[in-house]
Amino acid sequence: MRQTIFSIQDLKKYYLVKTGLFKKAYIKAVDGVNFLIKEGETYCVVGESGSGKTTVTKMLLGLEQPTEGKIEFLGKDLTKILSNGGNAKDFRKNVQAVFQDPFSSLNPRKTVKDILEKPFKVHNAKIEMDTIERLLEEVGLIPPKEFLNRYSHQLSGGQRQRVCIARALALKPKVVILDEPTAALDVTIKAQILNLLIDLKEKYNLTYIIISHELPLLKSIADKISVMYAGKVVEEGPAERIFNEPKHPYTLGLLESIPPPDPKSAKTKTLPTLEGEPPSPVNPPKGCRFHPRCQYRFDLCDKIEPDRIEIGSEHYVLCHLFNRK
């Protein structure tokens, strides 16, 4: 049995906003999600902007406090780990992050060497020049000596993302959280970064949590996928089931919206589209949040919120269609 790294139960995050002079409302960014992330897994969270996926990452990293719910890291409550008596430093060492925009996540005044030395300094670890060079080699910046003294503006987008990955790996973490790791990159570079991530994972037995809106990319790397819509996980399951037997109408729509790289295919010619837009997180629709866009809706959908239903091994869906007996 593999170790559980993160266990997340009924996690919620509401933000208070003023909508008028005396009126207040809550933005329900994340509204009751459950994840179970095991060691060595590549766990992906997909969803459109505003679905709450980045808020989930921020809570996992301890950068935001959950409004409700519980996050456990290796069986311990995250709020306790991050409080004064806890072992926050150890958590930070073990859980590292790579962000979408490598242009703003690297300090423009520091050289690559400075950037990669920083984690060692923060955690009072011994730095050897060897280690830094090996890290650069590891992420494919070869020969490393050429990159050591460069500033981030002297690197291309893909090279910067490689430096970010090297920095995340510096302290041999257990978990790397990647928020849209390839969104800002060109197609060929995306493929290279994905391959790099796959290699590093195998080599160091890493656990990845990948947040992305680029569903097709995840096909190559994901073990498990959670599909988020308007603050809820509408479908969760093993990657091959999500891609081959998607059940939730939203997952179906999402997969249909990807034009295949082949102008002759029938799907390219028709390009089936899911009409409408995601709802406002302040005032989500009653009942199922997806029902205004759903072509399979029936009388129950705008009245009662669906429950999480298990429809296969580790495959869950939040939809009334699968509860009709």
Partner: protein, 325 residues
């Protein structure tokens, strides 16, 4: 000259004259667009594709030096035209939509006023009331469900997809002949991307509109484009009908793009490992000399690649810039 030709660009060169060096952003680019046709310029960031578009619109900064044999738009050479003529056709006959519509909309003016402003710019006589009525019609055309309400909204209240629709509404307000779409869906989610692609295709049919689609994402072109020009480092390296590019790519760079896109779509990025491992990332543009641009990234390079290859006809259908055919 063909009868149904709308735009013909011959030997376009753009240099950016910077303080201590110059950058050849576009080198010897020739292409054409027929009436009602969608032509895609595909390439990675820095390949010069946006610069080509901005050169046609006459919107390059003062330090850009443009030279070309001719740029014929609807029979007139716009390279020799004065600014008065350009400002007449710009926004009326040739319009452009950008990647990030929200930042191109004025944040303190309502959607209705902005559309009216666009309408009045090309037809100063119409009254406010007529402009309003036309604006509603336009919003219906771009399939905004609730046009009266959207007219009163401000850009920050719009979602990305809605903002792009508003932007498209403004772009088509004067019945243009040519629409330049510069990464029109890059900032949008998958389902919204499919909707916008469909909308563009419908508008093209309805108005016999020509579209220049500028993108780094080859998969978009499979749905919309009739012909594709692949750009690399300021040059066109391959041109062909969309089908020819996808089914029979010839230039090593095009091949790489196609295999990357297909592998990502099929979830088989791992298979690419050896194919693109040899590819180091693009070097600084300023270093380009008189040799093949792709040299150093190409597995097949030979002696003659030290000289710059011309764009030559291949198979009677496509044109390719490579010595090794």
């Amino acid at each position: 000259m063909e009868n149904n030709l709308l735009l013909k660009v011959e030997e376009l060169n753009v240099e950016y004259l910077l303080t201590d060096y110059k950058v050849d952003a576009v080198k010897n680019v020739s292409f054409y667009v027929r009436k009602g046709e969608c032509v895609a310029l595909v390439g990675e960031s820095g390949s010069g594709k946006s610069t080509v578009a901005m050169a046609i619109m006459g919107l390059l900064p003062p330090y850009a030096k443009i030279s070309a044999k001719e740029i014929l738009f609807d029979g007139k050479d716009i390279l020799k035209a004065d600014e008065k003529f350009m400002s007449e056709i710009r926004g009326r006959d040739v319009t452009v939509i950008f990647q990030d519509p929200i930042s191109y909309l004025n944040p303190i003016i309502s959607v209705g006023e902005q559309i009216s402003e666009a309408l009045k710019a090309h037809n100063p006589k119409i009254s406010d009331k007529e402009a309003q009525a036309q604006a509603i019609e336009l919003l219906k055309k771009v399939r905004i469900a609730d046009p009266e309400r959207v007219l009163k909204m401000y850009p920050f209240q719009l979602s990305g997809g809605m903002a792009q629709r508003v932007f498209i509404a403004m772009a088509i307000s004067a019945n243009p002949k040519l629409l330049i779409a510069d990464e029109p869906t890059t900032a949008l989610d998958l389902t919204i991307q499919a909707q916008i692609l469909k909308l563009l295709n419908n508008l093209r049919k309805e108005y016999n509109l020509s579209i220049i689609l500028i993108t780094h994402d080859l998969s978009l072109t499979s749905y919309l484009a009739d012909r594709i020009y692949v750009m690399y480092n300021g040059q066109i390296v391959e041109e062909d009908a969309a089908e020819g590019i996808f089914t029979n790519p010839v230039h090593p760079y095009t091949k790489m793009l196609i295999t990357s896109s297909q592998a990502i779509y099929q979830g088989e990025v791992k298979k690419l490992k050896d194919k693109i491992a040899s590819l180091t990332e693009k070097e600084e543009n300023s270093k380009v000399g008189q040799r093949c641009n792709f040299l150093g990234k190409c597995k097949n390079s030979a002696q003659e690649c030290e000289k710059e290859p011309p764009l030559i006809e291949y198979d009677g259908l496509k044109k390719v810039r490579c010595w090794k055919l």
